[in-house]
């Protein structure tokens, strides 16, 4: 019965489904366009170049952090330490810049993030600790150390460097946010890195079938260490931008980004079970989340309703993905 209906009317439906499965970014972009149209309908005149600029500026740090989740999720991992690492680096630079200058301050912050990444990578890759636990523990360690540092630095005071403010919240002609200068090259590197380099393919291989990857000669632990270092460095860059965007430096600044960053990667079609997904979808996912929350706040919905709809959207989109990708 179902087979008959499918064969008669379902040729196009099956094609559509195949299209969605192979190019999940198309329905995602359609969803994004729909949300933008909905914003315009709900508040006529709101969609403008300036509005787009604000959306982009807000979405960039989220998209970078979601990049950490995408990369780690490809290997069936997750990185819950991005919030702590991003806050820590933003805070480090803000407290150090007065004493050592901007360049060295950034270098120190990146080095600190890199150390955290190495530790996480060793834990996950060599000691086979579950990534959820390893990154959770690492975020506690980083948060605690950042707090200790905060007590040391309390006399000298802290200030977000002007360069970060320009980069994080400034715009060109009031429209194009400066943070795109950082984000676009990063995104291109990640996109090409995942598709065209051996390292990128190794991530997919490890996530898809770790045993097969090992048997074909991949050294999983080395890949994982490099992966978590990259993830921590990306988080550091996001931390710089967030501190510039909000003009604050605090050791818990980026914590609220952690769960949305996982959500953006999931909406973007990256499977948390590993081996499937990509960064293009994640970027669209971050944009979708940003547009949704801007739409809801422009409609004057309270935070509560926003959160509820946020959660509902994640479930619905993830369920749609599972449905489309599981039926062959």
């Amino acid at each position: 019965m179902t087979a008959v209906t499918r064969s008669r009317s379902g040729v196009s439906a099956a094609d559509l489904r195949r299209l969605f499965r192979d190019r999940p970014i198309i329905p995602l972009i359609a969803l994004l366009a729909g949300l933008v149209a909905l914003s315009e309908l709900a508040r006529p005149g709101i969609v403008s170049p300036e509005w787009a600029g604000v959306i982009l500026r807000t979405a960039v740090p989220l998209a970078i952090l979601a990049g950490c989740q995408t990369l780690t999720m490809l290997t069936a991992g997750i990185d819950l330490s991005v919030g702590a690492v991003a806050s820590m680096t933003g805070f480090l630079v803000a407290t150090l810049v007065g004493n050592v200058g901007l360049g060295p301050a950034i270098a120190i912050a990146l080095a600190a993030a890199g150390l955290a990444g190495i530790a996480t990578g060793v834990g996950v890759g060599v000691f086979r600790v579950h990534p959820l636990i390893m990154t959770l523990g690492m975020s506690l360690v980083v948060l605690g150390l950042a707090n200790v540092w905060q007590l040391q630095m309390v006399q000298t005071g802290a200030g977000v460097p002007a360069e970060f403010r320009t980069l994080g919240s400034g715009t060109q002609l009031g429209i194009a946010p400066n943070s795109l200068l950082v984000f676009v090259p990063l995104a291109v590197v990640i996109l090409i890195g995942l598709r065209r380099t051996g390292f990128g393919r190794l991530l997919y291989a490890l996530g898809d079938n770790p045993v097969a990857a090992r048997l074909s000669g991949a050294r999983g632990w080395q890949v994982l260490i490099v992966l978590y270092v990259i993830s921590a460095l990306l988080a550091a860059v996001a931390g710089f931008l967030i501190s510039g965007l909000t003009n604050t430096a605090s050791v818990t600044l980026a914590d609220s980004y952690v769960l949305p960053s996982v959500a953006a990667a999931v909406i973007g079609g990256t499977s948390i079970l590993g081996g499937r997904g990509g960064y293009g979808g994640t970027i669209v996912g971050a944009l979708i989340l940003t547009v949704v929350s801007s739409l809801l706040s422009s409609l004057g919905y309270p935070e509560a309703v926003r959160q509820i709809l946020f959660g509902a959207i994640i479930v619905v989109v993830a369920a749609a993905y599972t449905r489309v990708t599981s039926e062959t």
């Binding site: 636990i133 959500a263 948390i272 479930v315």
Partner: protein, 331 residues
């Protein structure tokens, strides 16, 4: 008669040994806890009745959250919405109980427990129906429940029935036995022990250790999974009620309980892969973590180093555990 007695007598030693081997992790945790108590007493001779009572009250919410997490992790899932469910059940109970009689408060407690069951069942139902990984569904639902909590109560407020507060204050019989600890152990034992001995309990472990094998042995995997999440919802509601009872108000913003409960479950000897462990290990782990925190304040260690220590302990214990496992699988 004597044959029966002999048959009965013989395996007792084996049974005890088997039981000890089976619960080795929990038993060593308890041993460590006792050592830690002695150590605490040594560095702070004034640590006594009030200290133990404070300890029992302060661990209550996280301990119940850890039990909630343990149930679902044993069944092979994970619930990232526990903190939000606690916030929701806590504000609902605090709003309803404010300025009401004790009898009405009793009804409220029953209703909130029912609410917890419903929330958990929704989580589980969505996981089973959508076939989306547990971690994603419960992450999304954590937003939903937290939003609902904000809808109920925008700022911390409400109240708690007096008897609920008194339930966890003070001690029972001997002053060294805090009422909060008794309440905790009783509640967990009353729900968990019968559950574990039932068919459902066995099914929980079965779907956690091998889903496919469980399915082929005729276990209704979907229904068991929903049941696991429902029990988790019940314990989350209990944790939420304990928040209301210990603070006297409801707070709509979820505390750090979700991720801490995951940590406690792992430290308590439950495998994140599912099918292994129990709920008493996580309970003891929570108490140990809190006592370490207390000891660090006694030793005048910077509290931020206590956070670092917590992270290192978490990672370190898991590392040792997985090293042992790697060794075992090699030999």
């Amino acid at each position: 008669m004597s044959a029966v007695a002999a048959a009965r007598r013989l395996p007792v030693g084996d049974l005890v040994a088997g039981w000890a081997r089976h619960n080795a992790w929990t038993l060593s945790l308890i041993g460590f806890f006792v050592l830690l108590l002695i150590f605490t007493r040594m560095i702070q001779p004034s640590y006594g009745v009030t200290g133990v009572q404070g300890l029992a009250i302060s661990v209550l919410p996280l301990a119940l959250a850890a039990v909630a997490q343990a149930v679902v992790v044993i069944s092979g899932g994970i619930d990232l919405s526990i903190g939000s469910m606690m916030a929701l059940t806590s504000v609902v109970s605090a709003t309803l109980m404010k300025d009401q009689s004790g009898e009405f408060g009793f009804l409220v407690v029953l209703a909130v427990l029912g609410l917890g069951l419903v929330l958990g069942a929704i989580n589980g139902g969505l996981v089973v129906l959508t076939r989306v990984p547990d971690i994603v569904v419960t992450l999304a639902m954590s937003f939903v429940w937290a939003g609902a909590a904000l809808l109920v109560l925008r700022t911390p407020g409400g109240g708690s029935a007096d008897w609920l507060r008194e339930l966890i204050l003070g001690s029972v019989g001997n002053e060294w036995i805090p009422r909060a600890a008794v309440a905790l152990v009783l509640v967990v034992a009353v729900v968990w022990l019968p559950l574990r001995r039932s068919v459902l309990g066995l099914s929980l472990y079965a779907i956690g250790s091998d889903r496919l094998a469980a399915f082929r042995s005729g276990i209704p995997v979907g229904r068991t999974k929903i049941a696991a999440y429902t029990v988790t919802g019940l314990f989350s509601a209990l944790a939420g009620l304990s928040l209301t009872a210990s603070t006297g108000i409801g707070t709509p913003v979820p505390g750090p309980y979700t991720l801490q409960s995951v940590a406690a479950v792992v430290l308590g000897g439950v495998s994140l892969a599912g099918g292994r462990g129990g709920v008493f290990g996580p309970l003891v782990a929570v108490v140990i973590l809190q006592l370490i925190r207390t000891d660090m304040t006694f030793l005048k260690v910077n509290t931020n180093f206590a956070t670092v220590a917590q992270g290192i302990i978490l990672v370190g214990v898991v590392m040792v555990g997985s090293l042992i496992q790697i060794r075992r699988s090699r030999s």
